[in-house]
Symmetry: C2
Amino acid sequence: MTNDRSAAEGRIAASEVRLPPHVLLEGTSGRILRAALLLFAERGFHGTSIRELALACEIRSATLYAHFPTKEHILAELVRIGHEAHHAQLMAAHGPDPVSHLRAVVRAHVLSHASYPLLAVVANNELHALSPDMASQALLLRADGRQLLTDILNRGIAAGVFDLDDAFLAVTAISGMGMRVASWYEDGLPYSPEEIADTYATYALRLAGADL
Amino acid sequence: MTNDRSAAEGRIAASEVRLPPHVLLEGTSGRILRAALLLFAERGFHGTSIRELALACEIRSATLYAHFPTKEHILAELVRIGHEAHHAQLMAAHGPDPVSHLRAVVRAHVLSHASYPLLAVVANNELHALSPDMASQALLLRADGRQLLTDILNRGIAAGVFDLDDAFLAVTAISGMGMRVASWYEDGLPYSPEEIADTYATYALRLAGADL
DNA sequence: TTCACCCGATCGATCGATCGGTAGAGTCGC
DNA sequence: GCGACTCTACCGATCGATCGATCGGGTGAA
């Protein structure tokens, strides 16, 4: 494998490691996770060697194994943090009716991807590198979030406030456009994460056929 | 690296190698590209060894180098095919006004991702594994497609048929939701690629604030 | 005989992971 | 106060396996 940088534009625009405030990554384990977050996001799990990772956090590769049993466990921890933080944000979003609820959930969904793009990219794009066993919890959280969106849309359809044949394709469209935000968001854009989240929430409501 | 299958759900749902009809992949080179398309889509470029690839097309690993100078060139060829096919579809989509044009372009965009999901996943998600030199052409095609969408939206905004503050976020949303289709589409769903493309085109028009 | 195609054997490099052992801070009996 | 002990954190050296890639040679049709 070559050592030169790959095409940065191809994978992720952001480059600053940022984590949800409640996630405290202290000490050497935290340094490892922060360095791994950046490298896995830019080069992928299989594209990052433990020596490159060790170099990035200024320790020897042997020391990594004093903190994590395998390389895969490092990815698993990042995937866990990412999915749990995202899921918690989704579940904390509420609204008195399907329209307000959908707006709040999409806002949370997009805000999570725009605020922590590296974490979202690793959690979403590198999940396949985990064994089925280590990936199962994240897949459950993901399915749960998708179910939340499906329920909101179905309630809105039943109440006549959404104009959709069924919920499935709208769920894929709304969650899909939000997930992609993590790939192109970067600091310095003329839009804050909040502005993007608000705009996307409006897009989602329009897409669902809500009267605005 | 372990040999057991990874979490299939995490990366791509489809598993049947399918290519645009005008792309003829004959002979051993074609077998290599078809096998690489499946493996790179499922496990990623760095997660696939040349021995696994050779095994999949029933040749020895040394024979690979009679057809491609390096492993990277195999990926580069798939990325080229994917981006050129997608770009050609976008450019062939026309409409007499911004609304019809947007509908046609989104339809083509989504149809391309739903019809050839493996190709789309490899072209989009593995582009970063190419050296900047080999990735540059694909990035140009990608930027060109994005510009097409931007122009259509700006024309519609100027004509008063779209209700958007500016085009940028709508471009990211529309192209993003279409790209994600490649990750979840699979044969056997109760929606054909055409139905998905039509529905997404309607979503895009609603999202843009067009009167329907 | 030529030529396209393919392969067994093997290269040096790098992979993830393991080992015995060191440096330093804290703790204990005395 | 002081040596002996323990514990945590770390590292140099190295393991067997696998990586991408190379080379000389074999095989069959023209």
